[in-house]
Symmetry: C2
Subunit: 211 residues, 2 copies
DNA sequence: CTGCCCATGTAAATCGTTACATGATTAC
DNA sequence: GTAATCATGTAACGATTTACATGGGCAG
């Protein structure tokens, strides 16, 4: 159900077309919830059928697009969902499973995994960082819209909630990067000569010079 | 495919029945990869069909159970998978989405979410902590088995990999707990009197006394 | 006139959850 | 005897991915 409410959440700030949403769910909103176009279009139909959103055909720019907006019922359903207790997903971490069973592989292979792990979270960090920055410096376009229709005493809470969310995610990414570095250091510190079926190195492949 | 290889990984240490596996995937292994019995039994059949595992009927204790063990082909497939680059799952975080849109709710509701978040990770922490402890103090039964059939020079790496995995997860949990506390403090620090549509209080529900 | 972005989808397959079903053994 | 645990599943549903399909508008 979370895709449903992520869409409602987005539309609670501003109306949008399916295409707008599919771009947002692979970029902006995608920093917290990713979804593909082929998921979004059918969900929009279903949401309209349930009268939680209403679509209006928009032909002003000569393109046939449907712009969806929240209904009052949609607002109520969204509000109910955001307040409800979250059900945390089951733990499923493929990279940890790989590491657990990487004990028959070369140091170099383990190193590669840790480096890729670090790189993955460096990319994540930069995404979350840029979202965060847009929020605190006031350039985030939908946040602006959202603030515009709320009283100024509310602004600190509205901005603050979004800020702490992205700060939390940045801390997650930083942690993964640090952990990967710590683990790389630990790996280095292990006796380097012992059982290296670490690919054929210069030891295995001496350059034979004929005198 | 990760369930498949999590099962192969488990069986690479010790043979087990479907029932053994389904208990493990909701307890021990479940600390990294959770799965239900209804997922595991069909997957075991498929793995047997692919000749990656072999089942043997075991009736010694008067119960009809099938004990599965890895085939040589299964070992090779597992090794290949653990070394392969991990595909990180798309970002999908329902609790973050809720927080982002909780800006129309009372402080008390937001507080409740943060407290439940902290509690969730406190439970996770205790699970990961106990796995970790079993690994470093040498009481983890399957780790013992795994070490028994490997040379003693390998032991430091084998134990170390499992240790760093659970240390990493503990650090994740600790981070979430700290973040939740920081965010609770921030929430407290916000002017407490402003716009509290903090549940219907005595202000909204004055007791009307007929004179 | 070609390729890219806008715009909207469908179909098949995979993966996972929830609910249900069944029977045997063991502990109280 | 009855409840818990052992042991193995099936069926229906829901969520997601991947691949494919189609057509209009716009810039070089």
């Amino acid at each position: 159900m979370s895709l449903r409410f992520s869409i409602l959440g987005f539309l609670s700030t501003t109306p949008a077309s399916g295409y707008d949403l599919s771009r947002q769910f692979s970029q902006g909103v995608g920093a917290l919830w990713e979804a593909s176009a082929s998921q979004i279009y059918p969900e929009l139909r279903e949401l309209e059928r349930l009268r939680l959103i209403e679509g209006e055909l928009y032909t002003a720019d000569r393109l046939n697009k449907r712009i969806y907006r929240l209904t009052e019922e949609g607002k109520r359903e969204l509000q109910q969902w955001v307040e409800a207790d979250n059900e945390y997903p089951p733990e499923r971490d493929a990279e940890r499973i790989r590491l657990i069973f990487l004990d028959k592989s070369s140091r170099e292979t383990i190193r590669r995994h840790l480096i890729r792990h670090r790189e993955h979270y460096e990319r994540r960090l930069s995404i979350w960082q840029s979202q965060h920055d847009g929020i605190v410096d006031g350039t985030h376009p939908r946040l602006k819209e959202r603030l515009a229709e709320r009283s100024s005493e509310e602004h600190e809470l509205i901005v603050g909630l979004k800020r702490v969310v992205f700060e939390g995610n940045m801390r997650r990414a930083e942690l993964e990067i640090q952990w990967a570095n710590d683990t790389l250091n630990w790996l280095e510190s292990l006796g380097a000569e012992k059982f290296s079926h670490d690919e054929p190195t210069s030891v295995e492949q001496p350059i034979k010079r004929v005198g």
